[in-house]
């Protein structure tokens, strides 16, 4: 093994959080920063050639290569876990920018009470109302503490939207249920396509409070506080699973790389596959020494560093800690150990698929342009007579309307699945189909967790990560409830036929939900039940920080990107202002 000269900071993973930390430390300090990214380099200029549904949405060219490494899945501890042999319910990215390159850029904040879910729920409903085997926890940080960092994240990306609550003052037309904001969104809402406009009108008439989807796709040309300028969105429709050809969709490559590229103290090494975090020998166990990785030439390298960040895709952070033997692996039988606990996956499905008489022109739009509503989110509606807690948002967006994936989506009245009758229906309905999507909270449970698989290995021979994950009654009941609401909305919109989502059975690894798999390296207020303190610092290894949605104790209904960026900004502030002066525990 080759040992390289020591650096001040090593960051594992070149996605949103890794590159944001590199940008912050690289421009606010003189520290030497090395980012290790196992995928390849990326440039915005490449994305014009990428407007190809087959290669990017079907063959999934931007995703992690699962032939090298995947995860295994079982629904409970009695089952034999099986490897996910192809991508399905979530899509981990690879390469510089990571999943932040191919996201749809839906960018809402979490509801304030998400951060204190345990305390608030107990306070309101009592302990008996929580599901039997729940593992719900408070985050150790409150919305009020995080608000300034949310704002910084939104300014960084130029998020478009319309505020519904500025300093507690409700604003009609915005999301009146959102947590207080210190300022309006950096750019105005994106344009609203036909299907979304119908959704807005119909939900309003049903008494809901629709608002423009907060989108990290700028609605007009925008220059952020770092001086990075990006064009406004042209609604080409190639967002999710694609990189943005003009850089209107905020991505690490077009938002963070331009700043990093000017900093001589920051370097990015691609093709660097980190396998272990190395801890100090016995005398100083509370410190990590560096990381080992296989470089682009296949050589094993040890990179010593003073400060270490794990910022790989959410599940991979957990796997790296388990492979490195840092912290105690969670055991659901005893409840002991913390690494791997609280695995969640945002509850996402097409709640209602609506078939219309009129064409929708749905090739126009962006991954996040559209209308959503929060009336059924969190604890914003009366759960008194309902048999579940929490909820989620409904939305009508123009995402995922490309022909290969959407041709063949026909109403239930069409029985044929091939041949002339089916073809006729397929041609007719392709541009007459709209989906009302649901994004819901996923509570944490004692039995949903991650550990190392005893059978399956990656291409280096390291054990794969094993997910033990299934839905519980709370999610199933929540789904039933919102599906009925979505079907009602679709009918109000004038749909001839509506197909409601069939409901949640056991966790289905083949149906794409979202790439918002979370937990495993969770933050919290005590080392007994979390791996990280509220500054994302390891409770027992002070020079190790773990960034990203792996830190979320449970899954909010909101998409995670603004929250992971806000938490990363907050950690960066604490490091620059306090840790560098006194490298010790921040909490």
């Amino acid at each position: 093994m080759k040992t390289l000269p020591s650096v001040d900071v090593v960051i594992v993973g070149g996605g949103w959080t890794g590159l944001l930390m590199a940008k912050e430390l690289g421009s606010r300090t003189a520290l030497s920063v090395v980012v290790l990214e196992r995928g390849g380099p990326r440039k915005t200029e490449e994305y014009g050639d990428g407007m190809d549904e087959l290669d990017y949405s079907v063959r999934l060219r931007m995703m992690q290569d699962v032939s090298q490494e995947t995860v295994t899945l079982r629904h409970d501890t009695t089952q034999q876990a099986l490897p996910l042999r192809q991508h399905g319910s979530f899509l981990p990215g690879s390469g510089v920018g990571g999943a932040g390159e191919h996201w749809s850029a839906v960018c809402p904040r979490n509801l304030p009470d998400c951060f204190e879910l345990f305390s608030r729920s107990i306070e309101k409903y009592g302990a008996n109302r929580l599901p039997e085997d729940h593992a719900i926890q408070d985050w150790g940080v409150t919305y009020d503490e995080l608000e300034p960092y949310y704002m910084r994240a939104e300014l960084l990306m130029g998020v478009s939207g319309m505020a519904g609550n500025i300093h507690g003052k409700q604003i009609e037309g915005g999301n009146i249920f959102e947590g207080w904001r210190s300022a309006e969104y950096p750019t105005p809402p994106t344009k609203v396509p036909y299907f979304s406009a119908m959704f807005a009108e119909s939900t309003k008439s049903l008494g809901y409070h629709p608002y423009p989807v907060p989108a990290a796709t700028t609605s007009r040309a925008y220059t952020n506080p770092d001086g990075v300028s990006r064009a406004g969105c042209t609604y080409c429709g190639y967002c999710e699973t694609f990189g943005c050809m003009i850089g209107a969709k905020s991505q690490p490559t077009n938002t963070l790389l331009p700043v990093i590229a000017k900093r001589k103290n920051v370097s990015i090494r691609t093709g660097a596959w980190v396998r272990r975090v190395v801890r100090d020998a016995s005398e100083n166990r509370g410190r990590a020494r560096g990381v080992t990785y296989i470089d682009a030439n296949g050589q094993e390298v040890f990179q010593p560093a003073e400060l270490i960040f794990l910022a790989s895709w959410t599940l991979n952070n957990t796997r790296l800690l388990l492979l490195s033997g840092i912290g105690e692996a969670y055991d659901p039988a005893t409840g002991k150990g913390t690494v791997g606990r609280n695995l969640t996956h945002q509850v996402v499905f097409s709640a209602a698929t609506a078939f219309f008489e009129k064409p929708l022109n749905r090739f126009m739009g962006s991954g996040a342009s559209g209308i959503m509503l929060s009336d059924l989110d969190g604890d914003l509606f009366d759960h008194g007579k309902l048999s579940f807690l929490r909820g989620g948002t409904l939305s009508a967006r123009s995402a995922r309307s490309l022909p290969i994936s959407e041709c063949g989506v026909v109403p239930k009245s069409v029985k044929a699945t091939w041949g002339s009758a089916w073809k006729k229906a397929t041609l007719h309905y392709y541009d007459r189909t709209g989906r009302i999507g649901f994004s819901g909270e996923h509570l944490a449970y004692k039995g949903n967790y991650m550990d190392l698989d005893p059978v399956y290995k990656d291409h280096f021979g390291d054990p794969l990560l094993r997910l033990t994950l299934d839905w519980r009654e709370n999610e199933r009941k929540m789904a039933e409830y919102v599906i009925a609401k979505a079907v009602e909305i679709a009918r109000e919109m004038g749909a001839n036929e509506v197909t409601g989502f069939p409901g949640l059975q056991s966790y289905d690894a083949t149906r794409y939900q979202s790439s918002h798999v979370q937990g495993g390296v969770i933050m919290g207020s005590s080392p007994d039940c979390s791996v990280l303190n509220p500054y994302l610092q390891h409770w027992h290894v002070a020079n190790l920080f773990v960034l990203g949605a792996s830190s979320f104790p449970q899954n909010a209904s909101a998409n995670p990107t603004p929250t992971i960026l806000a938490l990363t900004y907050r950690a960066a502030d604490a490091i620059v202002k306090r840790y560098l002066k006194n490298p010790a525990a921040l909490a």
């Binding site: 050639d49 032939s67 192809q86 429709g237 022909p403 290969i404 073809k423 392709y430 541009d431």
Partner: protein, 221 residues
């Protein structure tokens, strides 16, 4: 090395359209002159290609609703996909042990690659291309629930609606059928207009939009 095989397409059989040959050069065939072109095959034998073309034509037929798999060149598309990395599972996790009978929610767990699934499946359809359409349909109904058929159906849809760089959707016939314009640099002026009425800009392919050749994934390692 095996003998090079060709799929011969006559202009009359495909309705007189553009055909992409192996080197991505296009020829426009004229039905009036009854021209034909020999497309070199990368994976199928000629006999296999004819069966795939016949089956795809029953899945997505050429009928009064418009052109189908035959005009779109679906068989050529599938041949290239199978010859490329997808056909040999280059990006699938293929470490043992395989649990072939796993529940559906774990996704395909089998050992066979798309190439193997096709090769095996086509044996059961021997002579399909020489049957009458009603008999072809009967044969296909018999295999409707197989993995091979679901793959064939999925690949037929792909070949109908992919960008023409992949060998299917020749002349953008698939896109024109559904009113999809292909990649467009901007819909800024139109996205919030045309409510309730069809807005159908002229279709353009990736190559036309970017102005240069783009290398598709099936041509890569």
């Amino acid at each position: 090395m095996r003998r090079r095989e060709f799929l011969t397409l006559s202009a009359a059989s495909i309705g007189g359209v553009l055909v992409y040959s192996l080197d991505r050069e296009v020829s426009r065939l004229s039905a009036q002159a009854d021209q034909s072109i020999r497309v070199p095959l990368r994976f199928f034998s000629q006999a296999e290609a004819l069966i795939v073309a016949a089956a795809a034509s029953r899945i997505f037929p050429s009928d009064e609703a418009g052109p189908g798999a035959r005009e779109a060149g679906v068989a050529v598309y599938i041949d290239r996909q199978l010859a490329g990395p997808w056909g040999r599972d280059r990006h699938r996790y293929t470490q043992e042990p395989f649990e072939e009978d796993a529940p559906q929610e774990f996704g395909y767990q089998g050992k066979a690659t798309p190439r193997q699934i096709y090769r095996q499946g086509l044996k059961d359809l021997k002579g399909l291309d020489r049957l009458k359409t009603a008999e072809q349909d009967q044969k296909l109904v018999q295999i409707e629930t197989t993995l091979f058929f679901s793959l064939l159906r999925r690949n037929t849809i792909e070949g109908m609606f992919c960008d023409p760089i992949h060998g299917g959707n020749i002349d953008m016939v698939g896109w024109q059928l559904i009113g999809f314009p292909g990649p467009r640099m901007s819909n800024y002026d139109d996205v919030d207009k045309h409510f309730g009425e069809a807005f159908r800009p002229k279709a353009a392919s990736l190559r036309q939009v970017t102005g240069h050749k783009v290398r598709p994934s099936e041509d890569q390692e």
